[in-house]
Every structure is written in C-alpha cells, then in structure tokens.
C-alpha cells in the first residue's frame, strides 16, 4: 500500500452525511439514573462537556391519578393524592381537602386548622431534609444524606403516632382531621423542634462554608426573577431569585395568618441561594410549629360534613404552598358523588420546565446539581 492510496481512503475534506457533526453529541441521561431523582429522562445536546440544550421526557411514572379521581367518590380519592408528591404526602392531602371544603363551603374548626398547620410544617421539614440529603449526595457529599435521614425519622415517628402511617399518611379528611392529637403530641413536637435546630446548624456546618459545595453551587443555574415569573416557577426556586411570593402570606389559608414568620428570599437566584432559602425555611417552619403547638385551641376537629359528599355544581381552584411550590387543585363538580374532573397543578412539573433555561452553557456535572436544586419528585411530575 502506497502513501497516496492511504490519503484517498481517509479523505477528510468531503463530509460524510451519514455521520453526525463530530463536535455535537446527543446524550440520554436517565430514565434510570440515580441523580435524576426518579425516572426522568433528559436528552442532552452537548458540545464536549458543555450543554447546548436539553429536553425532558416525562411520563415514566404516570399512573393516571386525575383519571382515577373521576371514578372515585370525594372521600375515596383522598388516599391517592398522598401518592403524588410522596415525600410531602401531608401537604398533598391538605391541598385536596381544602379544595373540596371550598367547594362545599365549609371550614375546618380552629383546632383542626392548627393541627393541619403543625403537620404540614413538619412535612415541609421532612421534605426539605430529603431534598438536602439527595442534593448534597448528587454533588458528592455523603454525610448530609445520613444526617438528614436520621433526623427525618423523628418527623416520621410523629406522623406514625398521629395517623398510623409514615409516608402515605392520609392524615386529613374533608372537613377537618379524623385523628385527635395523641397523648404527648405537643411534647413530641416541642422535643423535635428543640433537637432539630442544633442539627440544622450541623448541616450548615457541613455545607455552607464547605469549599467544594460553594464552588459547585455558586453561580450555577441562575434564574432571574422575570424568567421565574414567565415560566410559572414557584416555591423556594422563585423566592431564591428575590421574589417575595409565598401563598402562606399572599393568600393565607388555614390559620397561617395567626403566626409570625418570615419569608426568606435570595439575591442571585443560583443554586447556593436556593440552598440557603430552603435551610432558612426549615428554621421558619420550626418557628411556626412552636407557635402553633403553644396556641393549640381546644374544641372539635371535624366540621359538619355530610356522610355522602355531594358538592353543588361548580368549579373551584385552590392552591397551597407545598414544600416545592404552589400546589393547586382544580375540581369540577356536577353535583354527583364523584368529581367530574380533577386537575392538579403540581409544583415540580412546572418548576421542571425551568431546567432548560438554567443549564444552557453549563457543564454536564452541573445538570445534576440543577436537577437537585429544583427539588422535583417524579411521582408529582407524572401523576
């Protein structure tokens, strides 16, 4: 073989159409990937390590919850909502029960409202602990995961003592709560609050000034307030961008107007700010729990609700501030025992659409950090 034949064979000047542009690479991340927090598939368009664009493929965990609702009575559908955002089941239940209560125009008695606030704030702490543990694990810190899950156990114990289940709690019923606070509930909550604050400092000690953590999160996945509002992003992701919007203050539901608490906001809208906002939210949740436990009124826990729930014809939208953002329920009633249609506005699903905006121009490793910081739960994205 002569030299001339070799150059003929490797003709680099004419472009072969069957091959992709060698500088661009399309990569599938997931659906089976530990740092996509479930079965999320992200199609990444890469230039080397740099992300040029993303596309999310969802639906791997679709169970048709909204369709199931059309074949169940209002009370029967209550346990199913726990299975959407399964790390914050109590918040889901609260949103659903309140939406149906609004449709029936009944209000839960004060004691039930306080109990609901205590449990949803505990649930907010538990949800943020799962977020912190897994998010830190994605970035490479293993210790926070063990610390968070160790302390989350205390919350789950309170849930189990109160309503009999740790994860899919089914804690509230339409019209109030069915379970009275057990013996020692107040003490348990106070004990948890007292023990949790030093532990929160411990998490901060591990991460806030940790050089690797700061390098990996500061300036990563920046979202400015205008983009947040345009994309419909809510929850800690929105507040970290500096928009002071919290439904607990903006449209107070339950007994939130009775409590004194702050809404933490960030300045830069990057991953580090979102981390700080969520940590501060846990502190504020402890503050709310303490106030609610101290002011827990006596009285009934269930409003007068007919045994067979038949709301009048109409439609209602009610949203609450779930740990991940605005969780809304839109219910259409045709005056039968079953809802005509239920549409859920899940915070994770809406927040996930900010992913593309956030990761453009970043590296592949940052995609993992950004998915972690959005705090998505695929059970809620797909429903």
């Amino acid at each position: 073989m002569t030299d001339s034949t070799r150059t003929d064979y490797l003709d680099l000047d004419t472009k072969d159409e069957t091959f992709l542009d060698a500088t661009e690479l399309v990569l599938n991340m997931g659906p089976q990937h530990p740092s996509t927090h479930g079965v999320l598939r992200v199609i990444l368009k890469l230039d080397g390590e740099k992300v040029l664009g993303t596309e999310c493929v969802i639906g791997y965990l679709h169970r048709g919850v909204e369709k199931i609702a059309e074949n169940r009575t209002y009370a029967m559908f209550n346990p199913y909502v726990d299975r959407m955002d399964y790390v914050a089941a109590v918040s889901n239940g609260l949103g659903y029960c309140e939406a149906v209560e609004k449709l029936l125009s009944v209000e839960a008695p004060p004691r039930a409202q306080y109990l609901r606030v205590i449990l949803t704030e505990l649930c907010r702490i538990a949800s943020h602990q799962v977020w912190l543990g897994t998010h830190a694990l994605d970035i490479g810190a293993i210790t926070p995961l063990f610390y968070c899950f160790r302390d989350r156990e205390e919350v789950l114990k309170i849930f189990e003592k109160y309503c009999g289940a740790r994860l899919t709690t089914h804690a509230f019923r339409i019209g109030g709560c069915i379970y009275e606070a057990y013996e020692g509930f107040e003490q348990d909550c106070k004990k948890f609050c007292d023990a949790f604050l030093p532990k929160l400092d411990e998490y901060e000690e591990l991460l806030t000034t940790n050089r690797i953590w700061v390098e990996r999160t500061k300036g990563v996945g920046i979202l400015n307030p205008e983009d947040c509002i345009a994309l419909g992003v809510t929850g800690p992701v929105l507040r970290a961008s500096g928009v002071k919007w919290d439904l607990r203050k903006a449209q107070p539901y339950e007994s939130y107007k009775d409590f004194d608490f702050e809404i933490p906001t960030g300045l830069h809208g990057d991953t580090y700010d979102r981390y700080l906002v969520r940590i501060e939210e846990m502190r504020q949740a402890v503050r709310i729990i303490r106030q609610a436990v101290d002011g827990l009124p006596q009285g009934p826990i269930m409003a007068k609700v007919p045994k067979v729930i038949k709301p009048p014809v109409g439609e209602v939208y009610h949203s609450i501030e779930a740990p991940k953002g605005e969780l809304g329920y839109f219910i259409v009633s045709d005056a039968s025992t079953q809802p005509y249609r239920i549409r859920v506005r899940p915070p994770s699903f809406v927040n996930l659409q900010a992913l593309d905006k956030m990761v453009r121009g970043l590296l592949v490793a940052d995609v993992v950090a950004v998915i972690g910081t959005l705090d998505i739960v695929l059970g809620e994205v797909d429903r």
Partner: protein, 153 residues
C-alpha cells in the same frame, strides 16, 4: 481559633476536628440502626397494618353484621362481603368474606366505616407471601390474624 496555616498542617488540626465529629457519634446511645429482625421496631397504636376481623371474645361469634359499609368505602373495591339472614336469630350472618390484601393501600377507610369495630387494621406488618392467591384472605384467615414469626439466632 486562628492559626498559621503551616502550623495547622503540622498539628493536623483539621483531622482532629473531623475525628471529633466522628467520635461524637460513637457511643451506643447514638446508634440509630435497628437490628431487624432480632430487634423488633416499636409500632404505634394507630398503625395501619394487616387487617383483622374481630370476634366476640365471650361467644366466639363474628362481630360483622354484614352491613357492607367497608366494601362501599374501599377505594380499590377489594372487600367482598356476602351474608344471609338467619331466620332463627333474625340476624344477618356472614356467608363469605374476602379481603384482597395484594391491592390494599392501607388507607384505613374500611376501618373508619365499620360500625361495629369488627374490621380493624392491626399493628402486624409482616405480610410478605410467596403467591398472589394467598393474599386474598377469607374470613378464617382474617379472624385468625397473623401468626407471629419466631426468629432464633
């Protein structure tokens, strides 16, 4: 504590600081791992586990009055109750009672619906079986409840 970075390195200050955290969690009182199955977890009273049909302890008769409320309350429609009126006592008596545990999500709605406290979700939680057929519990299985598993070292 401000120290010269070189001195910090020589005296291994950071290592000692890190190990202090590690050894802080060494005492047995800090251990949170449960040695299941040798050590049984504490199950609280309201836990919703294996269903049981209660019987009157004095007479051994079933407390179920075949009102069918549990079957109507169940979101998964996994309870099937069939009964017949006994002409002698004029009471409805159970003919067949099945509970499909494989579809149960332990929401507790059946327990709440029961007017005589006959159906109860107990604190038993070891419900694993080798077959799906075995998960359809009949009246006898529901009344007998779970046989506690004995573990030996």
């Amino acid at each position: 504590m401000k120290l010269n970075p070189l001195l910090r390195k020589i005296f291994l200050v950071d290592l000692v600081k890190g190990l202090k955290v590690t050894f802080h969690y060494q005492p047995p009182s800090e251990a949170i791992t449960e040695q299941y199955p040798l050590e049984r977890p504490v199950i609280f009273e309201r836990f919703r586990g294996q269903p049981r049909l209660n019987v009157n302890p004095d007479t051994g008769e079933s407390l179920c009055i075949v009102c069918n409320l549990c079957a109507l309350a169940c979101p998964e429609q996994l309870i099937v109750v069939k009964g017949e009126r006994n002409p002698a006592t004029k009471r409805k008596e159970v003919v067949s009672w099945t509970y499909d545990l494989s579809r149960c999500m332990f929401c507790g709605l059946c327990e709440e619906a029961c007017s005589t406290d006959a159906l109860e979700l107990t604190q038993d939680y070891e419900m694993a079986l080798y077959t799906r057929e075995g998960m359809v519990l009949d009246q006898a299985a529901l009344e007998r409840g779970q046989e506690p598993e004995k573990y030996a070292k």
